[in-house]
């Protein structure tokens, strides 16, 4: 593995993996405890519309994805705050319409688009250094925002009604969270592609939640799990020449099922002890 680090693309890939895992750990934890996993999936797929549009107009796909991702996350955020029961419909619509727009724009764009697969399944090995200059500050902003408003995020995630009675600007904080999800999704698309965003955003926090009892520790632990999964996945992808995004997700998936199995095992262990 170490000789691979002589290549600049490999060093960039590792750095990108670490940066994305940190964003995933922090934002993903809030996504999981607020039950917004499906919303994040919708945001990721809606972002495809932005990618197609950017290709058509000849601007950076990252910008297109960013605008669509943050825009759709704010729409979904506003809808979910206004009428909770209609949220899933809006998610589904934006999900599908975003994808369809992307496909149509790509159709309309002349030329051959081999690169598009990299947005569907990610291309961590092709991350240029310039992307890192976007990921690092984003991580920093996310960490600072969450640190600053930690007790408020904890409160609205656990019991938003009580937080509201305490005069906390619950809606504004939720929209801030949706913004962070939108930006993180753009980062994650680079690594594992928009189809696999949900997995990287939800699996590490899910595993972390099993082993910890505080929101802060959950964020740190899921960042570490994310780093572990991306590094192992990256190595497998390099060693066996496999699609990196899919390899990373399969490693995370293996971690997920291992946790489930261990959980079961320890539960039956406990009930046996209880019987004795």
């Amino acid at each position: 593995m170490w000789e691979a680090l002589h290549f600049e693309f490999m060093r960039n890939a590792l750095a990108a993996g670490v940066f994305v895992s940190i964003a995933c750990g922090v934002v993903g934890t809030l996504v999981v405890v607020n039950r917004m996993v499906f919303i994040s999936g919708g945001i990721a797929h809606a972002a495809y519309g932005g990618i197609g549009m950017a290709l058509y107009f000849g601007i950076s796909p990252l910008i297109g994805a960013g605008v669509f991702s943050v825009g759709s996350s704010l729409i979904m955020g506003a809808v979910s705050l206004k009428s909770r029961h209609r949220t899933d419909t809006i998610i589904g619509v934006l999900w599908a319409v975003g994808m369809a727009m992307g496909v149509i724009f790509v159709d309309l764009t002349p030329g051959y688009h081999v690169d598009l697969m990299s947005y569907l399944f990610g291309s961590i090995l092709a991350v240029p250094k310039s992307d890192l200059y976007f990921m690092f500050p984003l991580d920093l902003v996310i960490i600072l925002v969450v640190l600053f408003f930690f007790k408020e995020f904890l409160a609205i995630s656990y019991d938003d009604e009580f937080a509201r009675v305490r005069g906390i600007p619950v809606n504004a904080l939720y929209l801030l969270l949706f913004c962070m999800i939108g930006f993180s999704v753009v980062m994650i698309i680079r690594i594992v592609g928009l189809i696999l965003v949900i997995a990287l955003l939800s699996i590490p926090p899910y595993i972390a939640e099993k082993v910890t009892d505080s929101l802060g520790k959950m964020m740190v632990l899921s960042s570490l799990f994310g780093i572990l999964f991306t590094v192992i996945g990256l190595w497998i992808s390099y060693r066996f020449n496999l699609t990196s995004g899919a390899a990373i997700i399969l490693v995370a998936g293996a971690g997920f099922f291992l946790t489930l199995a261990l959980d079961r095992f320890s539960l039956s262990d406990q009930s046996q002890n209880a019987e004795v």
């Binding site: 405890v33 600007p169 009892d213």
Partner: protein, 253 residues
């Protein structure tokens, strides 16, 4: 008497078309201890959420301590009905109780040592101090309820609202809770939704019966009309600690 704790005039509320509450009006003075009784689905919790500013009335006005509920809510403590939301949520007993010290003015700042000391004292008061590091999801319903009560008290409220606070606690704590509320009532106005007409009648000063409309009795007596309106069936009552029957038994609907 000063500013009333609660003043409601001609209040109407509906979630969609069918009104849940209509023509509700009453005035509650500060220092009162009011029980809200009534059947399930009669609008008790809705009325509470309106007074807390969580819901907005369709018609009519609510004044809490002379202001709109939204402007007064920093001085309101609230114990919600169900405490079994989010049982897998990674939060400790102490963190949950600390939420009572949240406020708009200290938005984005850490909890102070004073906050922590106040919450510690309250957790001791409700008998949950030994569990302070426990995850909330690992506790029993009654234990959780105590923490939610500590959280509401941590607000240091002028008015304390409780929505069926004794639904899942044991009898022993139920009496203990009303003793605590009774003590608090020297400074704090208490409004409690309850089904336990018997236990509560020893402590309350006034009673409101809610079944889409509201009937208010300032002397804490539960009248026959109230019960008729509320339950439409015979109810045994034990009033003011004396085990005597207040109401004659009567036929159901």
């Amino acid at each position: 008497m000063g500013i009333p704790a609660i003043e409601i005039k001609d209040l109407w509320f509906a979630y969609d078309r069918i009104p849940v509450l209509k023509e509700v009006r009453f005035t509650l003075q500060q220092g009162d201890f009011m029980a809200i009784i009534g059947p399930n689905g009669g609008g008790k919790t809705t009325l509470l959420k309106l007074m807390l500013g969580i819901l907005e009335p369709k018609k009519g006005t609510i004044q809490i301590l002379g202001r709109k509920p939204r402007d007064a809510r920093e001085r309101l403590g609230y114990v919600p009905q169900s405490t079994d939301i989010n049982l897998t949520f990674p939060i400790s007993v102490f963190e949950l109780a600390l939420m009572g010290r949240l406020s708009r003015s200290r938005f984005g700042r850490r909890y102070s040592d004073e906050d922590k000391e106040k919450v510690a004292a309250l957790l001791k008061k409700v008998g949950m101090w030994d569990y302070r590091f426990w995850p909330v999801g690992n506790l029993s319903g009654g234990q959780r309820q105590r923490i939610f009560i500590a959280r509401a008290l941590a607000v240091e409220p002028a008015i304390l609202f409780l929505d069926e606070p004794t639904a899942s606690v044991d009898r022993e704590f139920e009496t203990g809770l009303y003793e605590i509320l009774d003590g608090l009532n020297k400074e704090v106005t208490v409004v409690v939704i309850t089904h336990d007409v018997g236990v509560v009648s020893r402590y309350v000063k006034s009673v409101a019966c809610v079944n889409h409309t509201l009937m208010f009795h300032e002397e804490g007596k539960i009248t026959k009309e109230m019960i008729d309106m509320a339950y439409k069936c015979p109810v045994d009552l034990v009033a003011h600690g004396l085990p005597h029957r207040v109401l004659p038994e009567h036929e159901g609907e």
